[in-house]
Amino acid sequence: MAPISAHTVLIVAAILFVLGLAGVLTRKNIIFMLISIEIMLNAAGLAFIAAGSRWQQPDGQIMYLFILAMAAAEVSVALAMVLQIHHQHKTLDVEDLRELKD
């Protein structure tokens, strides 16, 4: 299998990132927004891997492990908060959760 150039991988990462971003911007449900954020994180991780393989350095893979750990922690906290939101507001629609305003 011919080696995939870093250029291609970065394009895939960019597409992933834009997909995630679009998800965050368009989705109304908080859980879907969280999933979209995960997709963006994975896009960032993919970019690290690509960079690591391009310069033959382990740093990219180490960075990806960090991102994984961070993403796991973030998701656990975020899901706990989502539970709380659902508990208090009986909804997960961000359009209805507008209390944080002037």
């Binding site: 507008r98 944080l100 305003k101």
Partner: protein, 618 residues
């Protein structure tokens, strides 16, 4: 003896503190005991100390007591220090002695007032401040007393605060005296800048070395101090507050607005005589102001109908005599006139208070009439007071002091025949309105039925004051020459006896005129009332030469007009403008904080894009 000096002002202060903290809980007799008792104790101490002073004069002619340091700022050392010299002694004795009599009188006079304790508390505070004023050894402490008496005057004029007129009168008195006070404190600043001290003895010692006669600075200082004295002593053109100050209870008028506080200006000028001697211009001005005031106020007193306003105008006029004496350099004569005036004017006010009280708060003299038989004691004391005011020759105290002033108005170095003529005219007017007052109130038909006659607590002070109104003229005030310089006479001056005869003649003429117009030929006055010209003159005098209206046009209306124009404060606009701009910016930005999570995310995205674009374009 001098270690007990502090007790004289301390007694009224203790009385004040007791009454102001616990006054409402005390039964009435306790309040009266504390209120009048403190002043009586103070009077006994003062008189004992005065006797001691005269029998065994201290070496430097002054008792000293340094209590403590008040504050030290740079070169300014203000002490709470008392001194008692021959001049302060006269004032202290008058304040405590007459004060005690008036307090005793008030026990009965204020009997049915619900604010008994507040009255005595304010009166005690007044006596304390007044004693501090005359006993202070430095001008800062003097100023403390000066403001203290102003405050008490305000509190007591507005004592019956339910009536709006009383409150306005209190405010007017406070604001007008404030003009003088401000001038005075500027004078003190100047004095301190020049001499570096505000200790009275040091000033008196330093000033002649530091200033030359007629120096501009010293003239300014003297003028500013004079303005302070004019405000407090109700001299032209700051005299308008005193007639209105009669809104207070009669004992207040007697103590504050006749005997003591209004003569604080005389005290100040006599105390600072060295400064005034260095400024001949100010001396002349003082004499002219005094002469004009005594004439202006005398004319107003002639036509008043309110018994207390007559006495108020006559007080202004008598203080005018004191200023005249000060202006021509007759220092001792001014103090002597203060001394006799305090007795007979306090007597007149107290007797007038008794009359008003007995006649169910009737102030109009034309509604009194015929009280000679109903109130024999009040009648006798009143006539003694009025005789002393009119300066009836030889038997009254007022004669000796006023005669001396008239003589010096011509023959002293600063005297002038015109001053003498004004003084003489004033003496004629004084005799005239005193006669008018007596005849209208005590003779004629009875207009109002008298109520309950005053009790002995009111009568005894009247009798004592009446005795002094006759006897005080023979008391010579010795040792005053230790403090005050001798009056310099003109090199060629006529004999004093001629002047005495002219003064006696003018007094008798005044009494005769009053007797003719108000007793023998009363229809003459009725005839005059038909004449329009005379009535307009009468109304002009009645309104106090329309000074109130003049000030209204000159100061009050323009001020009100400016405040109306500037209702929304121009300078304030700048600052409120800054605030408005920020508020608008805040509104503009706070629109973005709408609570929509996606909107925030979009914001973050735009920010990132912006930063990246900047990085790329760099």
């Amino acid at each position: 003896m001098q270690q007990y000096l502090y007790l004289i002002p301390a007694m009224p202060l203790i009385g004040f503190l007791l009454l102001i903290t616990g006054g409402a809980q005390f039964p009435r007799y306790v309040t009266a005991m504390i209120g009048a008792g403190s002043i009586c104790v103070s009077a006994i101490i003062a008189i004992t100390m005065g006797a001691q002073f005269l029998l065994y004069p201290p070496l430097e002619g002054v008792y000293h007591q340094q209590l403590w340091h008040w504050f030290n700022i740079g070169k300014l050392h203000a002490d709470i220090g008392l001194q008692l010299d021959a001049m302060s002694l006269v004032f202290v004795c008058i304040i405590t002695f007459i004060g005690a009599l008036i307090h005793i009188y008030s026990i009965a006079f204020m009997e049915h007032d619900r604010d008994y304790a507040r009255f005595f508390a304010s009166m005690n505070l007044f006596v304390c401040s007044m004693l501090l004023l005359v006993m202070a050894n430095n001008l800062v402490l003097l100023y403390l007393g000066w403001e203290g008496v102003g405050l008490c005057s305000f509190l007591l004029i507005g004592f019956w605060y339910e009536s709006e007129a009383n409150c306005m009168a209190a405010r007017k008195a406070f604001v007008i005296t404030r003009i003088g006070d401000t001038a005075m404190i500027i004078g003190l600043f100047l004095l301190f800048r020049e001499l570096g001290t505000l200790n009275i003895r040091e000033i008196l010692a330093l000033a002649p070395q530091y200033f030359t006669t007629g120096n501009t600075t010293v003239t300014w200082i003297a003028l500013l101090l004079l303005a302070g004295g004019m405000g407090k002593s109700a001299q032209l053109p700051l005299q308008t507050w005193l007639p209105d100050a009669m809104a207070g209870p009669s004992p207040v008028s007697a103590l504050i607005h006749a005997a003591t506080m209004v003569t604080a200006g005389v005290y100040l000028i006599a105390r600072m005589h060295t400064i005034f001697e260095l400024s001949p211009f100010t001396m002349h001005l003082t004499a002219i102001i005094g002469a004009l005031t005594l004439l202006v106020a005398g004319c107003s007193a002639m036509v008043q109908t309110d018994i207390k306003r007559i006495l108020a105008y006559s007080t202004i006029s008598q203080i005018g005599y004191m200023f005249l004496a000060l202006g021509v350099g007759a220092w001792s004569a001014a103090i002597f006139h203060f001394f006799t005036h305090a007795f007979f004017k306090a007597l007149l006010f107290l007797a007038a208070g008794a009359v008003i009280e007995t006649l169910h708060h009737e102030h109009n003299i034309f509604k009194m009439g015929g009280l000679r038989k109903d109130m024999p004691l009040i009648f006798r004391t009143f006539i003694i007071g009025a005789a002393a005011l009119a300066a009836v020759p030889f038997v009254t105290a007022g004669f000796f002091s006023k005669d001396e002033i008239l003589w010096f108005a011509w023959s002293a170095a600063g005297g002038h025949p015109l001053l003498w003529v004004t003084g003489l005219l004033g003496a004629f007017i004084t005799a005239f309105y005193s006669t008018r007052l007596i005849l209208v109130v005590f003779w004629g038909e009875r207009q109002t039925t008298p109520g309950k006659l005053p009790s002995s607590a009111m009568n005894i002070p009247l009798v004592i004051l009446a005795i002094f109104s006759i006897g005080a003229g023979w008391i010579h005030l010795p040792h005053l020459t230790q403090v005050l310089p001798e009056t310099v006479l003109k090199p060629a001056h006529p004999e004093e006896i001629i002047f005495q005869f002219i003064a006696i003649f003018s007094t008798l003429l005044g009494i005769m005129t009053g007797y003719m117009l108000y007793y023998l030929y009363p229809h003459t006055i009725r005839g005059w009332k038909e004449s329009e010209g005379l009535m307009s003159v009468r109304n002009f005098f009645y309104a106090g030469w329309k000074f109130d209206q003049l000030y209204d046009v000159l100061f009050v209306r323009p001020f009100v007009f400016i405040t109306q124009v500037n209702r929304n404060d121009v300078t304030d606009k700048i600052y409120s403008g800054i605030a408005t701009i920020h508020l608008q910016l805040n509104r503009f930005l706070s629109v973005s904080q709408n609570g929509s999570l996606r909107w925030y995310v979009a914001g973050v995205l735009i920010g990132i894009l912006f930063i990246i674009t900047l990085q790329i374009l760099r």
